[in-house]
Each structure stands twice: as C-alpha cells, then as structure tokens.
C-alpha cells in the first residue's frame, strides 16, 4: 500500500454498500476495496476477496508448538539430566501431554495473531483518513488509480449512480 490516489464513494447503509461493491466488481474493477466500521456480511464475496491464508499459519505454528513441547520435555527429562521419578520412564508420554497441548495452543494463537498483523500490515503509523466516520457509521468503496480502466470522472459517476451520498478524490490511500 504505497501512496496511492483514487476515488472513494461513501454510503450510509451497509447493504447498499455491499450491493454497490458487487456492481463495481461487475464493472470490471479488480483492485478496489471497501472500508467499513464492522465486518459486513457478504462484503468478501462482493469485493471478490479470497479466503484468508492465515489458517495454514495456525496449523504450521500448532505443529511447531507440539514439536517444541515434545522436544523440550524429551531433551530435559531424558537426555540432559534424566532423573528417576517414582520408577517412571524418562520419557513419560502421558505425563507430558498437558505441556505439549498448552504449547500447541500457545504457538498457534500467537503466530495467528502475528500473521494477522502481517496480513493487514499493522501497525500503521497515521494511516490516511478518507472520512473519520468510517469507523463509526459510514461505509466506503475506494477505487485506486492503478485499477483496470481507471478514470476519475467515470469512477465518480459510477459510484454516484450506485447510490453513494458523497464521492471524494483521495491523494493518498
């Protein structure tokens, strides 16, 4: 998300914004985005966003957590300093299950949130504000200037015809 200009249209109703997004997509735009105060049902399909890839990170991190749980307990209890506790085997599988489980969850959760921050490119310092009410009660569609067939006037007309109450030329997105 380099400094990118474009045109934004603003809606007051979430359903109208979703319908407009679907039509902007039908008009051939590919890189446009919607900005909403809450996750609007159906917006992903309307904008044409693919399913998030984060679950793969979760799975890999969970597996890594499980492996570290096994490795940590095996190495400390059976290799580095094996101690006979009540005649139990040095590698006491069932007794090691709780820590393996907790580390699986811990790794999976932390890496998923880390992946979320990476995917959304957070933290952002002073992101450009199209309209301060977009985190409260307004909904926007933004068409960047590098999108297929971009033309500022035509985009403004399109957004207005789809019911935008306001359109804005944006110099930085």
């Amino acid at each position: 998300m380099a400094k990118l200009g474009g045109v934004a249209g603003i809606w007051l109703d979430d359903h109208a914004c979703v319908e407009a997004a679907a039509k902007v997509r039908a008009a051939g735009f590919k890189k446009f985005d919607a900005i909403t105060p809450f996750p609007v049902h159906g917006m992903e399909e309307a904008v044409g966003i693919k399913r998030s890839w984060i679950p793969y990170v979760t799975f890999a991190a969970g597996t890594l957590g499980l492996a570290s749980g096994v490795a940590l307990q095996y190495w400390t209890s059976a290799v580095s300093w094996p101690i006979n506790v009540g005649g139990k085997p040095f590698f006491s599988g069932p007794a090691f299950a709780p820590v393996m489980f907790e580390l699986t969850i811990l790794f999976a959760a932390l890496f998923s949130v880390g992946a979320l921050f990476a995917a959304c490119r957070l933290p952002k310092v002073d992101p450009p504000v199209i309209d301060p009410d977009l985190t409260s009660h307004k909904f926007a569609i933004f068409i960047p200037e590098n999108d297929v067939g971009y033309n500022a006037e035509r985009c403004e007309q399109l957004l207005k015809s789809l019911g935008a109450v306001e359109t804005k030329r944006i110099s930085a997105y």
Binding site: A34, H41, T76, L116, K124, D126, P127
Partner: protein
C-alpha cells in the same frame, strides 16, 4: 444478515437484541460516552475505595512475603490454605469470560456480543489476580523463575514435567497470554473508532497507538474474522484444559476426597458456574452505573445468563451427589470417611454453606420472575460467589485436615492475614475493572453493530 435469515427471524418472531431503535451512530455514541465523558463522582468513589482495598492487599502481601507463609493459617496437615483456595476461585471466575467470548461464538449465539467484552475483561483481570497466589504460596517469591525450564548453572537442573503443579505453570500462563491477546484483537477496531472520534491530540495519539492504525478495509476484515474464529477455536479447548489441569493438582495425588476421576468435569462446570455468577454481579452494577447500556445489556441477556447459572449449578450439585455415591460404592473406608467428615465433621458448616449457596439458592431461577429481577439475580450471584469460594475451601481443607492417620489430624488456623489476603484480592480485581470501564469501550462496538437488526425491520425494507 441475509434475506433468508431475516425472513426466518421474523417467522419465529425473534426479540430484538438491542433495544431503543438505535442507529449505527447511536451505538458508537452510547458506547464511547463513558470513555469520552469526564469521570463521574460515583465512578471516582468506587475507584478510590477499590484502590484503598488494593493498597491494603499490597501491604499484607508485603508482610506475608517478608515474614513468611506461617502468618497464614497453613500448618502441618493443611499445607494448602487461602492462597491455593483463592487461586482456584479466581481462575474459575475467568472461565465464564472465555465461555462467552469463545464457546458461545462457535455456537453462533448472537446475544453474546453485548456481554463478551466485559466478560472477557473479567477473565483477563481474574487470571491476573489469581496468578499472584501460587507465586506467593511458594514462600520465596523472588525465586519464582525457578518454575520455568530455563538453562541454568545448577546442572542444568530442569523442572519436573511429570508434576501437575508444573502443568499448571504452563496452563495458566498460556491461558493468561491467549485470553489477553484474544481480548486485545477484539479491541483493535473499537480503539480505531475511539481514535477517529478523538477531539484532542493526546487522545488521538493514545488510541491511535492502541488501534495500531486499524482502518477496516474489507481485506483486513476478511483476515480479522478468520483470526477471531481461530482464536475462539483455540480458546475453547484451552479453557477446558486449564481447569482440568487445576483439578489435576488435586486429583493426581492419592488423598481421599481428592483422588477422583470426576474432578476435571466437576471443576470445569464449577468454574463456569462461578464465572457467570461474577459476570451477573458485575453487569448488574455496570447497568446501574451506565444507564444507556441497559439497551445493550438487556434483561433478556441477564435472563439467559441466569439460566446458565442454574444449569451449571445443577451440574455442580450432581457432582456433589456423585462424589458421595462413589465414596460409598467404592467400599474404600478412607474415601467414605473423607465424605462423612465433610458433611458432618468439624467443617460441616462450610460444606453446608457450599451446598446452600451453590445448589439450593440458584433454584430460585426456575421462576421466570426471579430470573428477570435485577435485585434477585444480584443477591443470588453474590451467594454463588460465596458458595464457590467455600467449595474450594471444602475440597482443600477438609481432605487435608483428616487423612489416613488420626495421629496427624489437625485444623486450619485461620488468621487475620487469611482474611486480609482474601478480601484484598477483590481490591486488586475491582481496581483494574474500574479502570477498564473508564478507558476501554465496555461493549464491543464492532460486534454489536452487525446484530443491530436482529428481531427488527431494517429501514428501507431490506
């Protein structure tokens, strides 16, 4: 919400989740108001009283740490006392928050959105409060880093991974980390709302930093919703594992009254029971403090939680009965004695307080009028809190005070410091909770908006 589900909703005549014909802007205004307005006198008075109690707590912890654990009532047969009892109590309280925020999310319970934020805040603060007790209970808290498996110069000598107490270290610290992260992820969009509403530069800076520059683009929301679902899915087995592992602290020993297989489900049910008791206590107070929140946390919300209190109370009651049955059925004289001693021995008073508060009093909620009465539910929830503290007291003290050998029997020597530490922990919890109410939106703004039109016609006929 899609057309189809809207139609279905009108067919079953669903009650609105949010009252007062709000718009999206009203929601932002109402929920941000306590955070943006100048603090009221009542809030300040409550904060200062809670803080006073917190200071009292810190002083008594300092005395106990500098003098020694002997100031508490712990002694030779009863080596686990107030510290462990109150630890289990506070950890249990936290469980309801995760149940609401994670398990009810997976079950698509839309009513959870109004109460999830505060319930989860309660989880985080209760776990913080709980975490202090085992650390002090070690007797030499400045050596608590020995609980962690870190490379050291003593061999290296490692922790014993076969001990349930060590499992607890991992379970509780994972629980604290994951619930804090889950809570924070939920807060990010709301911090962005506060940032964009900020009137002063410093406010904009602080909430801007907390929101990490969140913008709410559709691509971000797609990832966000996925991570929220993943965290809910991870927290669900996690919360069940935490109280299971806490119960292992008892169940893995061979003491009569502790060494039973019913402990994990019994502890988890009790934890959810006590946690909902605390959620109801806190939310009745929040509704009084912020009258506008009554449109969001409605009587219907409170009633649903009271139903859960009654259901989990019955599960706990079943566990009490089952323990007695199994003690008799096992034919083990030590086990049988442990339970007869619980109900009729020198600590019978605590056992019957527990049964009265946890099993008998919640039966009031069979009556719809009582389920929907704020004064009744407040009083019942206080009794649930008292009863669940006594449950842990009964489990810990009655089993320890008379074990196999009558020559080693004894009584818990309750002292002033036990009282101070127990009551003071509420000071810590309430101080953090009061600060939370002032600085963080106490209802999830971004989660409440999508359920605004449940049970209500959308303007424009959608």
């Amino acid at each position: 919400m899609s057309e189809a589900s809207m139609n279905m909703a009108s067919e079953v005549a669903r009650k609105p989740l949010i009252l007062g014909n709000k718009t999206y802007k009203d929601i932002s205004d109402d929920i941000c108001e306590p955070v943006e307005a100048a603090p009221g006198k009542r809030w300040l008075a409550l904060l200062l009283s809670a803080k006073g109690l917190f200071l009292f707590y810190l002083i008594h912890i300092a005395i106990v740490v500098s003098t020694g654990m002997g100031l508490l009532g712990v002694n030779s047969p009863i080596a686990w006392g107030t510290m462990i009892i109150t630890f289990v109590f506070w950890i249990g309280i936290g469980h309801a928050g995760t149940l609401i925020s994670a398990i009810l999310f997976l079950f698509r319970q839309k009513w959870r959105t109004s109460v999830a934020r505060s319930a989860e805040a309660m989880t985080v603060f209760a776990v913080m409060t709980a975490g202090i007790f085992p650390l002090i209970h070690t007797g030499r808290p400045w050596l608590d880093f020995w609980l962690l498996p870190y490379p050291n110069q003593r061999g290296p000598l490692w922790v014993n991974f076969r001990s349930p107490l060590l499992w607890d270290v991992f379970a509780v610290s994972t629980y604290a980390t994951v619930s804090s992260v889950f809570w924070y992820v939920g807060l990010v969009p709301d911090f962005a709302t506060l940032r964009d509403r900020a009137k002063t530069k410093i406010r904009r800076l602080i909430y801007g930093a907390l929101s990490m520059g969140w913008r709410g683009s559709a691509r971000d929301w797609a990832h966000y919703e996925m991570v929220y679902l993943i965290l809910a899915g991870l927290s669900t087995p996690l919360v069940l594992s935490v109280h299971t592992i806490v119960s292992f602290d008892f169940a893995v020993s061979q003491l009569p009254g502790w060494h039973t297989t019913i402990f994990p489900p019994y502890f988890v049910a009790g934890a959810i029971f006590s946690g909902f008791g605390m959620v109801v206590t806190l939310l009745t107070l929040v509704r009084i403090g912020f009258p506008k929140f009554k449109d969001y946390i409605t009587i219907d919300h409170m009633e649903v939680m009271n139903k859960i209190i009654m259901a989990t109370g019955l599960m706990v009651g079943y566990a009490y009965g089952s323990e007695f049955f199994i003690a008799w059925y096992s034919g083990n004289p030590y086990e049988q004695y442990a339970f007869i001693n619980r109900a009729f021995g020198p600590y019978a008073w605590s056992y019957w307080i527990m049964v009265t508060c946890n099993v008998i009093i919640p039966q009031l909620f069979w009556v719809k009028k009582f389920r929907r009465s704020i004064p009744v539910m407040f009083v019942v929830s206080i009794f649930v809190n008292i009863g669940m503290w006594f449950e842990r007291f009964v489990i810990t003290v009655t089993s320890l005070h008379r074990d196999f050998l009558p020559s080693s029997w004894g009584m818990y020597e309750w002292s002033w410091f036990d009282t101070a530490i127990l009551s003071g922990s509420f000071g810590m919890f309430l101080t953090i909770f009061m600060l939370y109410l002032k600085f963080v939106p106490a209802i999830s703004i971004a989660e409440v908006k999508p359920v605004l039109y449940v049970g209500r016609q959308r303007p424009g006929g959608h």
